[in-house]
Symmetry: C2
Subunit: 323 residues, 2 copies
């Protein structure tokens, strides 16, 4: 089965990504909160990727992928498929590179994320809200225009870019016992787990996944990519499925996937807004939710949590009564 796995990124690719994105990406702050430490019963280190450009860690991978391409490869523009943060990140990276971008967006994607893609000057092309329709629309575009596809997570350069989150985190907090990152398609978790286990082999790395979109958990258990589950979760950024490449990296470097229900995510999100004073989207709050749902596992430990994004519609907060 491993024969079918496309080339995996190595630690050196993450170091190269860090150098490549340095002129463009932010080194995001690592914040702490004594009151959240008290609530959690452990020492929390929050990597604030909600403060990354375009409002999510996705800019790291998109920027690395777009700037890794040679001029010929980008001459006909960049294409991707995304219902959210990767689309805006790719649009920004393309604008910085000076090449046109098109983002295939499924019907039903959050309006605020569509607006962010458009604000970066990318063209939006709609498709039906299924993975098959997204892939078909993207393939058609690539064929028709000759544009270069940068997949949201099934891409070696994208994964290497996401891994730079862990480089910065462990540089500032070298004594971490545990690293927690959200998992959707697995780009962030595979990149950060590769970096973290290389820099600090004894660290424990968990993915945090919505209980209503538990395909990564199932995929690791069964040893194959489960792609036919229907996602039901408030975490709009975590509805993707693993690809063989991200599954292979998770199998090597991740110690477990922790499942969290949506109510716990909403409560953790509110706690981050109240205590850390940070606007974090549901997908970004799931790491803290995973800790609070299983305090004993983390008791007394040094825990790094990736707050992956902050793009949220302020008129539709999960704790507001539905109008």
């Amino acid at each position: 089965m491993n024969a079918a796995v496309p080339p995996l990124p190595h630690f050196d690719d993450i170091l190269n990504a860090a150098a490549r994105i340095a002129p463009h990406a932010r080194v995001t702050p690592l914040l702490r909160s004594r009151s959240l430490d008290d609530i959690a019963g452990c020492s929390l280190h929050f990597k604030c990727e909600n403060l990354q450009r375009s409002g999510a860690f996705k800019f790291r991978g998109a920027c690395n992928a777009v700037f890794a391409l040679d001029d010929a490869a980008v001459s006909r523009g960049i294409v991707t498929q995304s219902s959210g943060n990767h689309g805006a990140a790719l649009a920004l990276a393309s604008r910085l590179r000076g090449v046109p971008a098109t983002v295939v967006v499924p019907e039903g994607a959050p309006a605020i994320k569509l607006a962010a893609i458009a604000a970066q000057g990318a063209r939006i092309e709609r498709c039906a809200p299924t993975m098959a329709a997204r892939t078909a629309a993207t393939d058609t575009l690539v064929e028709r225009t000759g544009a270069h596809l940068v997949h949201p997570f099934d891409d070696r350069d994208v994964i290497a870019g996401q891994g730079t989150v862990a480089l910065e985190l462990l540089r500032e907090a070298p004594d971490l016992d545990v690293l927690l990152a959200p998992v959707g398609g697995g780009g962030l978790l595979s990149g950060t787990s590769l970096a973290a286990k290389t820099l600090r082999p004894g660290i424990t790395v968990y993915g945090a996944e919505p209980a209503g979109a538990a395909d990564a958990h199932a995929s690791l258990r069964e040893g194959r990519c489960i792609t036919d589950m229907t996602a039901r979760t408030v975490c709009d950024g975590l509805r993707g499925h693993l690809a063989p490449r991200t599954l292979a990296l998770l199998q090597r470097h991740v110690d477990g996937i922790l499942l969290v229900d949506d109510d716990a995510v909403a409560a953790a999100m509110r706690l981050l807004w109240e205590r850390l004073k940070l606007v974090v989207e549901p997908s970004g709050a799931i790491g803290l939710a995973a800790v609070l749902a299983d305090r004993e596992r983390f008791a007394g430990r040094q825990v790094g949590i990736v707050l992956s994004g902050g793009n949220v519609d302020l008129d539709q907060l999960p704790w507001q009564a539905q109008a």
Copy 2:
């Protein structure tokens, strides 16, 4: 008239304050946003005091005042009057010093700020919602208990502590043309203007004040403390009046007070949440609102803005329809 002004802090007091609070206070991040720069037409540097301990710059002054006192002075505890952030900051500083604190709170103070005071272990004493009642209740407490009063802004050590905001800001952004800070009682503005004008004499310093609580603006125009205006503003942290001490410092170091209406404050607050991904309270957003209301004044300049606090009731956001 100057004969009646109590002792003013000097720049050295601010340097001493920085050293005194260093073990306890956070050096807060200075954040930037290209999209907000584009909207404003100038270069904005946001000093994130919403990320300070207790969620506001107030901890700097309270911490400096409480730790400047000798053991005898604090032996019977600390007292203050506050409807909000100073109360929580003083309560936290007192807890760190290991002395009991009592906060006199007017009826009608925001519930979330009361909860923050109680969470730090301070005793709360209620009084009628007038400045006279607050002062009377505080005086009575001091007489009865022998506790030491730390005024929210009319206090040399408190002002010196607030001034440390500008030390950090100018250390990280030494080329600022303009500094903007909110003004209520004037503790933050007087301390930061003293520090900024000492470090960088050519800098322009503005206070930003709600149009519905424009007593500082009127006081500077008339050259005396106006204390009989009724405040009507969403900026609950900016309803106080200047004291002779803060007025004297503002007369020396501040170039003007910019008035901003509440709608502009709410819009700026939402923009900070959306673009900077920061939870900022209305009082903390008024600096950005002042820039956006008067773009020509700031065009092309390097502008430092103090985001003074982030303590806000997430169920009562100013852009939500009233229930």
